[in-house]
């Protein structure tokens, strides 16, 4: 069995309003940061997982993302996978 590390990024879909992102954008401007056009907040989930090969691990991560980590009604996800 090989060990893999996945970094999963979960983001609200572009069509879903992100009020926390808007509030943070507003605070960023108050801090003096100029030129911010958009700011949206997502989640990053780190998973260490073992499997026989990358394809098998990708299947597991896909299932986790689709069924648990993200609610695909409102969120998109993507991930990177690294063999340890």
């Amino acid at each position: 069995m090989d060990q893999f590390a996945a970094k999963v990024f979960v983001r609200l879909r572009p069509s879903v309003l992100d009020p926390a992102g808007e509030a943070t954008k507003s605070a960023s401007i108050k801090l003096g940061a100029e030129g911010i056009k958009s700011l949206r907040i997502g989640k990053m989930i780190e998973v260490k997982i073992e499997g026989n090969d990358e394809n098998e691990v990708r299947e597991k991560i896909d299932l986790l993302c689709d069924r648990l980590f993200a609610n695909t009604v409102i969120e998109d996800y993507e991930y990177s996978l690294e063999k340890l």
Binding site: L12, V16, L17, P19, L68, N71, V73, I74
Partner: protein
Amino acid sequence: MDNFTVGVVVFPGSNCDRDVSWALEGCLDIRTKYLWHESSDLSDVDAIVIPGGFSYGDYLRCGAIARFSPLINALDEFVKSGKRVLGICNGFQILTESGFLPGALVANKNLNFICDDVELDIFSSKGGWFNNVDEKQTIKLPIAHGEGRYHCDSDTLKKLLDNELIALRYKNNPNGSSFDIAGITNEKGNVLGLMPHPERACDETIGGTDGLFTLKSLILK
């Protein structure tokens, strides 16, 4: 009500379970039974309420972890048999996360946790959850949520409208919900999810009685 028993689901973090039980037992004389989330035996109950609260601390997303409990897994058969399920607030969030109802509930537009009484229009009588409330078409119920903004895509909204699945709409949308939606039913009408709390409006002296009808309708066949 003879032996009719309403199961009230208890998750770690539920906090309206006792309110629901008080309203059903004390105000309506309907027997209740608490159902711990790890139980999958629903044979003793004739209807189920998934109450409000913060199941599993709202970790990941509201209702996301609760979806994987043995009880929610057993709910599929229960719903298919036509028995009634009422999801209030966090219960509504769990019902959308687990796919019993379409759409999702996300953070309120203004980011505030809103605790208030709201006026609601009864938009559909599907399932008889709100029918004939003294012929009133508007009711007043309390809300208390930070993540109650109902969201769905335009295709889903069209389906909700075409099939008369929108049960309740806010008169003055407090949280930015799509189409002012406060509650929806499934196509069969035996599952209702709503953000307002009917169990907190079951006595004239503490918040009115507009919630009584919805709880009482749990005993409808």
